[in-house]
Symmetry: C2
Subunit: 294 residues, 2 copies
């Protein structure tokens, strides 16, 4: 059994050129829940001026159906994001930093050390409020400006985040640089460092066609939670260098072929992917939509 | 170290709408050789009326540069193909059948048993002529009309082909139905049946996005030869909804990231992929062309 964390409504739609209204996001999320997905990164509490497609976080959360066993996550990058999140009933805060100074300075004008210092307080306060807190570590498999990110640096950020109150860690391949051997090594090192019970997730982009090969390598190394995006949303050709996440239905198809339970109904997920293509009014990256279930 | 069998000039160009002249095929193959590729499926001795893009097999072979250590293969599906091949200096005959009656009847109007009977004679005569003979078994991972193809059936065809004189076997996922667990199981079963020294190759299509994940699974199971197509060109013209082969430069990028030698120069292969896009006058499927080498 693996767990899917569906990030299409957040990481996917954030990287599309067309802005989708809150009602459509809610319909998308409702459909995903109906197909069996139980962990959804639904919103982002990022500055609405910086990321307009995510400005409606509070509205989306208000409109979302409440269902037993379904968990909604929201991205938190700063104290101001935390303050917004704590006024909502979002279940999990996904607290994010990259692990490369060059990338982090360009992205949020802070070194990794500065970011981790500030975010540790955010994590503590979030955890104290009773919400779940997940730590998401970007550029964990390489940085487009620095190249390799030393594994020790990634591990150190994870330690600080877990000390502050994160109960799970997701390693993100922000710009699609991971390869299967590296995925295996990093995942095994994380289990060695934090124990086999660590709730470890992986977040891949299909930038260089390696998304599912990396998911496979992570699964073989013992990882059981994977981020993915319905229809491979997030690769709008007009967005600068955006390439979609691993595609949810393509990933489910792989796991079902391998005899691994995902808790989801693939034909129903596939229908939602096709519907999403009509919503976005452009061909999306998912392959199963074109080929059909084998 | 892995060996790439480049099938773009044959399996790729066969399924493109634009017909490419012999001189361009020769330029493509020459570029691939200059990038380090040593095994190239260059032509097909199929009926020119059925597959017009491949009608120039003899001309392409005459124009190709002769280089030490480079091997040119040609597809042979029948006795008439063999007769043409034997009049050329092609190095290897790639003798093909599918392993599913339904598929084979639609494709070449013969049951698998009938095809294997005829092709065994072709293989014997080809081997007796001094040329190398490789057996290629299509639908080895599933048939779009029948579903699963029993492993025993695939193994039986391989046995007959090797008895007749094939020195290597390639298992082909004609319509992109393979999954990594299945690849692992079939590859291991082949090594169990024929010994670890079996020259086993795998031929995947990226129909459902699993091309590189399946290559990875095959590599992990001990396979060291993989078919791929420059820029992701092509697919099987007889298979419903087939899409391109695994993309050569994307596969090289994966293996180099994993520290596995391919004997090729990736930047130079990538240049050829980009050139191929200008030749075909349409965007091709390769991902690395868009994202660049990490």
């Amino acid at each position: 059994m693996i767990e899917i964390c569906e990030v299409g409504p957040r990481d996917g739609l954030q990287n599309e050129c067309k802005i989708v209204p809150a009602e459509t996001k809610v319909e998308l999320i409702t459909r995903l829940i109906d197909s069996g997905i139980r962990n959804i990164e639904a919103v982002s509490f990022v500055n609405p001026k910086v990321v307009p497609p995510m400005a409606d976080a509070e509205e989306v959360l208000k409109l979302l159906p409440k269902r037993n066993g379904v968990r909604f996550g929201g991205l938190v990058l700063s104290r101001s994001g935390l303050e917004r999140a704590l006024k909502t009933d979002v279940d999990f805060l996904h607290v994010v930093t990259t692990t490369s100074d060059s990338f982090n300075l360009r992205n949020v004008k802070r070194t990794v050390e500065q970011a981790v210092g500030e975010l540790s307080l955010v994590i503590k306060e979030g955890a104290a409020s009773g919400k779940g807190v997940a730590g998401v570590l970007g550029t964990a498999f390489g940085c487009p400006f620095e190249g390799d990110v030393p594994f020790e640096n990634v591990l150190k950020v994870a330690e600080r985040f877990m000390e502050a109150g994160c109960t799970e860690i997701t390693l993100a391949d922000t710009t699609g640089m991971a390869n299967p051997i590296q995925v295996q090594k990093i995942a095994e090192s994380f289990f060695d460092a934090f124990g086999k019970d660590l709730s470890l997730g992986l977040h891949f982009h299909n930038t260089r066609g390696l998304g599912l090969a990396n998911v496979l390598a992570g699964y073989q190394a013992g990882v059981r939670r994977f981020d993915s995006s319905i229809a491979g949303l997030g690769g709008c050709p007009f967005a600068p260098k955006a390439v979609g996440n691993v595609c949810t239905e393509d990933m489910i198809n792989m796991f079902h072929g391998m005899g691994v339970n995902t808790g989801t109904d693939l034909p129903s997920v596939l229908e939602t992917a096709k519907w999403m293509e009509t919503v976005m009014e452009r061909p999306l990256d998912g392959m199963l939509m074109k080929a059909g279930i084998a």
